[in-house]
Symmetry: C2
Subunit: 174 residues, 2 copies
DNA sequence: TTGCATTGGTTTCATTTGAAACTATTATAG
DNA sequence: CTATAATAGTTTCAAATGAAACCAATGCAA
């Protein structure tokens, strides 16, 4: 992997992306968020991976099962915002490593019923504090008020992004 | 791909991720940012892809060349926060499609000198307004003040993320 | 019932990705 | 000057990814 040294946005944080100014990638929000997220994800991937032999998808599955089990694969997919292929694969590996137990739903034999095994629960409970620690470190520089604001803004952006994704999809289908 | 319908954080936006409360993935900042970024990236990928036959890495290369050419591959890598493998491949495709011209640096024959071709420039100039439009749509719900705050907070997070990545890397090497 | 559409989930295949190995060129130590 | 190290960039190989095809079980309409 490349050394993490991210190009900094120019200090002049002008409001609007001036209409005819040259396009500045390093000030472009989608780009910045992508870089931020990738850096973050790598840090987490490293932690989950080295300490527990987990990928991020696997950890996500564990996280939701830790809270809501039993869940079907589809329910896991919804709660983790992953597609069913990823869930299927993550679950397969977690079963093979005895982290997750799978039974079939009694009333609908298509559905599975997934839950953490005893081992899985122990891992989960060991990981959670570390994850929280990293999140805390990430947010270390922000005041409580700023955190709240960030939370709110991210929610707004998520809404808009979904909108955007849908409309772009629509246009494509026409 | 899975339908984009993101699980919403519970309305109670409590400040700190309570120590012994169950771990709530949907309130976990790294997760939320990842979901946001992926949704956004897919929207962009679709636009670049359908309208111009470009991937995101390819567009990033075009964007920095549009502003700073000539650049070497390494310089492109720095400015796009991509690793050299990705840059190499993106550039290769852009050359094949006559979007980018490559010559070799006169004073150092290892280095390339990359710049947009005439065609590439036209594409670039056509894409920029669309990219700005999407960004604007994304930010539509935010006041100018909120945008400034967002900008500031994202910068802080990026700094922390890099720190984090580094320290985690260090620990791993010890 | 019996067919047909739907849903839950897995597998296949092609593409993308990144780490490590590799080639070519330049820099530097002896 | 060599020889060794370092740098620029490409290629190789294995793993991750996602769309589409697929299999199995259920729902539903005739």
């Amino acid at each position: 992997m490349q050394p993490v040294s991210v190009p900094r946005p120019s200090p002049s944080a002008d409001d609007m992306p001036g209409e005819d100014e040259p396009f500045a990638l390093e000030r472009f929000l989608p780009y910045r968020l992508s870089v931020l997220t990738n850096t973050m994800s790598r840090a987490f991937a490293r932690m989950y991976g080295e300490r527990f032999g987990l990928s991020i998808p696997e950890w996500r599955v564990m996280a939701v099962l830790g809270r809501f089990a039993p869940l079907s694969a589809n329910e896991v997919a919804e709660r983790t915002a992953m597609d069913k292929v990823r869930v299927s694969r993550a679950v397969a590996r977690l079963i093979k490593t005895n982290v997750v137990d799978r039974t079939t739903d009694a009333t609908d034999r298509r559905r599975s019923a997934l839950r953490l095994s005893r081992t899985g629960r122990r891992m989960h409970d060991a990981i959670v504090p570390m994850a929280r620690e990293i999140e805390a470190a990430l947010l270390a520089g922000l005041t409580p008020a700023e955190r709240e604001t960030l939370d709110r803004l991210v929610t707004k952006l998520m809404d808009q992004a979904v909108q955007l994704y849908r409309t772009k999809a629509k246009k494509a289908e026409d």
